[in-house]
Symmetry: C2
Subunit: 455 residues, 2 copies
């Protein structure tokens, strides 16, 4: 490991506003549609499910800057600014002329960027008199963040965790329980959606789609209970822009500006967080930055999916969203990067990809762990399997610079650490980790069905 | 969770010297003895095993302040200063008038305080032309720190991990391997000590004592290879004083001074680190601070052991040390706080306890996890099982303040986070965690044998 260089902001320099990219987008995202009427949704249509403030933020295409509530900013100060690090060790190991920087979101108390939005959403719920919040989680990064945020603002949290994760990965479950959350394996007998699945298949292992349906149902049928979501939605991306806004100031401290900005990609929250603030200078014509979303080859919605209206969950309880998707029935392989196993992309990202403001790169699981281990050796931090995708993409770009001799500045987001994912590394180190191919038939099958939905 | 208040030092304020308490102790520690000749050891006697600089520091009773090498301080800056936190949430939950502070060593890249000494020892080895270092580890905190430090300074690391931990807790092993260390389950066939054990008992699960014997043997029989140790030794305590020296400055920023300083206790490294700098003001008569070492009731060397010359390892390869001990044959119950499962205390601590400068408190495993969970809920950090002992002791003292109404200032060291120990929490939350009683017969049996050793 070579000497690292780290950049921090003082408390006063931590941003006081989030950046709402919708206001500046040349082409606004198409509207979400009510699943029953197929008419465009209004913020009011979302009030029964989400907090009012989150609902308003979701559809706000006017205000480019939105104030971070003081109580949320106070909580941010507990772990922010997160460090911007010049990865000298990685550069040297690669022998690249590129300058590689990463934003280290793994230093948050729950180990990932997810807390940035969990705190905001929990705060708004509390302000609006909500007493209970509910969500779904797969491997558990988001569930941990939400459990922590609920505790901070004095709310009760109920988390539906995909049953196979609940059983096979008990550690994040234990973290959620340590923060006082009630964690239920999904499918469960506590909801109609869960019962329906279990009636047909008593041993069903669960899926994110089912867990979302259960959480949504609980929120809709419980007084003073709201649903909160950890990715995909516009207001979640908004809250995550704190990452890129800090990085912008920190890059200035380093005296550089990124040519390429990279984030791993599941529903879009951390990619949006690191990218959107830099993208506004591309809209304005000031800069020509490239933005790369790094997704798993086994869940290739951006590189091989179609732009189409689709549901966010399995049962079709969510609004219809215009998104790059593999179809809400697509069942991704059980890769270790659980946070990237989602069939669709958020509506803003989908529009930006369509309009050519960003690119996507797909990466094989083995390639990402190889990259993650090199990063661990050179930079001392064991990355989350999700973050390994961003690292692998950054390495691919740095290798290109080596060929061309270009001294490009590459910035990627280290969305979280992998300390709860050591089982995955153990498997990789033992040579027991395989790649998952997705056939063209799988990619197109589910999307074809979609075409019927909005007719 | 209430608002936390955190105190940081600027880079310039990070201490430039460690504090060597030996120079100021009213009664110096008794000498270590050569296991063969029973004569006092000199630094030169230790050169074959340890780096020369560590050997000199081990016996230095003259210099109260020892410079931190610039290269080590540069590495410290990567994660130091660690935060000093006022635990308002915990205070509120307890309803105590006490002011509770903790020093958060869990923010280091490997998640515990162990790195403070690993970096120093690896650096000295590198400076002295050593190419390979070896050590033992139980659960793996120290092994991870050493693997990381070896990578930083370009050394090869070989770690003997107690076999039952190697098999049952593969995650810290994977972390060590991620940093490039060679990890061998102990007992192994790679050493005489290991072979001897396996010949008698092919299915032997290993112990810290056996693993130490193996690492020592490897160092003694390999060119350019030194042994490094993570606790017990004086030079390790010396390197850890960075914790207390920072805390002293940070408490000043908070405008308070601790009445009570607490650390959990295995071999002594983190307790020494937080305590020794404050203790010098007690020696000088300026202050009347109390110091409490929190040990597991199942390994009660300080509260129930005897002051006696004993070996540091099972096979008797180490020097004889004057220590509070349960006997080097004592086999502690398999509690989750693996870092506290050691039969003896370092020689400085033993002298200080004998002289009444510090106290010890023993805690049941269930009590420590209960305390750890309250802490996690109120302060947002899941503590290592070892650190839970310090938290439980701090809570016990804060509860006393509640009874008496005293507004005491309590400072404890949070030696590490528990993210790799979630299996233990899972067990506790499921009600499957039991306490281990130690009989008087067990406590005295092994120590009686010791009386023969130095005759």
């Amino acid at each position: 490991m070579s000497k690292q260089k780290r950049f921090f902001l003082s408390e006063e320099e931590i941003p006081t506003q989030w950046y709402n990219i919708q206001a500046d987008m040349p082409n606004k995202p198409m509207p979400m549609l009510d699943p029953k009427t197929k008419k465009p949704m209004t913020p009011e249509d979302m009030f029964p499910l989400f907090s009012m403030e989150a609902s308003r933020q979701e559809m706000d295409q006017e205000h480019a800057w939105i104030d971070i509530p003081e109580a949320v900013r106070e909580q941010y100060k507990y772990y922010r600014s997160t460090p911007l690090v010049r990865a000298y060790g990685l550069e040297k190991a690669l022998g690249t002329p590129a300058h590689i920087y990463f934003k280290n979101e793994s230093v948050s108390p729950i180990g990932s960027h997810k807390l940035n939005s969990a705190l905001a959403q929990a705060y708004y719920c509390k302000q609006e008199g909500v007493t209970n919040i509910t969500t779904e989680t797969g491997a558990g990064q988001w569930g941990c963040a939400l459990s922590y945020a609920a505790k901070v603002f004095g709310l009760e949290a109920a988390v539906y965790q995909v049953k196979i994760s609940y059983e096979q990965k008990p550690y994040r479950r234990a973290i959620m329980q340590s923060y006082g959350a009630q964690v239920t394996p999904s499918p469960s007998m506590s909801t109609r959606a869960g019962k329906d699945v279990l009636t047909v298949d008593p041993n069903n292992n669960g899926s994110l789609g089912t867990a979302i349906s259960e959480a949504v149902e609980l929120a809709m049928t419980t007084p003073n209970c709201k649903y909160v979501l950890g990715s995909v939605m516009n207001h979640v991306s908004l809250h995550q822009t704190i990452i890129g806004l800090e990085a912008e100031k920190q890059m200035e401290m380093a005296g550089e500006y990124p040519d390429i900005v990279i984030g791993c990609f599941g529903g879009g929250s951390n990619f949006a967080g690191i990218s959107f603030p830099f993208m506004r200078h591309v809209f304005s014509g000031e800069r020509k930055t490239r933005f790369i979303a790094a997704e798993p080859a086994s869940c290739p919605k951006l590189t091989r999916g179609q732009f189409q209206y689709d549901f966010g969950d399995l049962s079709g309880l969510t609004p219809l969203m215009p998104m790059y998707t593999l179809g809400h029935n697509f069942m991704p392989a059980n890769i270790h990067a659980g946070g990237l196993r989602y069939h669709g992309a958020g509506v803003i990202i989908s529009q930006l990809l369509k309009d050519g403001y960003m690119e996507a790169m797909d990466l094989k699981q083995s390639e990402t762990f190889k990259a993650g281990l090199l990063f661990a050796k050179e930079e001392g931090i064991i990355p989350a399997p999700e973050s390994c995708h961003a690292i692998a993409a950054a390495i691919a770009e740095a290798e290109k610079c080596k060929e061309t001799g270009e001294e490009k500045v590459i910035l990627f987001n280290l969305s979280g650490h992998g300390l709860i994912d050591m089982a995955a590394y153990t498997q990789y180190l033992a040579g027991n980790l395989f790649d998952h191919e997705v056939s063209d038939e799988e990619v197109t099958r589910n999307v074809k069905e979609l075409e019927q939905i909005i007719k």
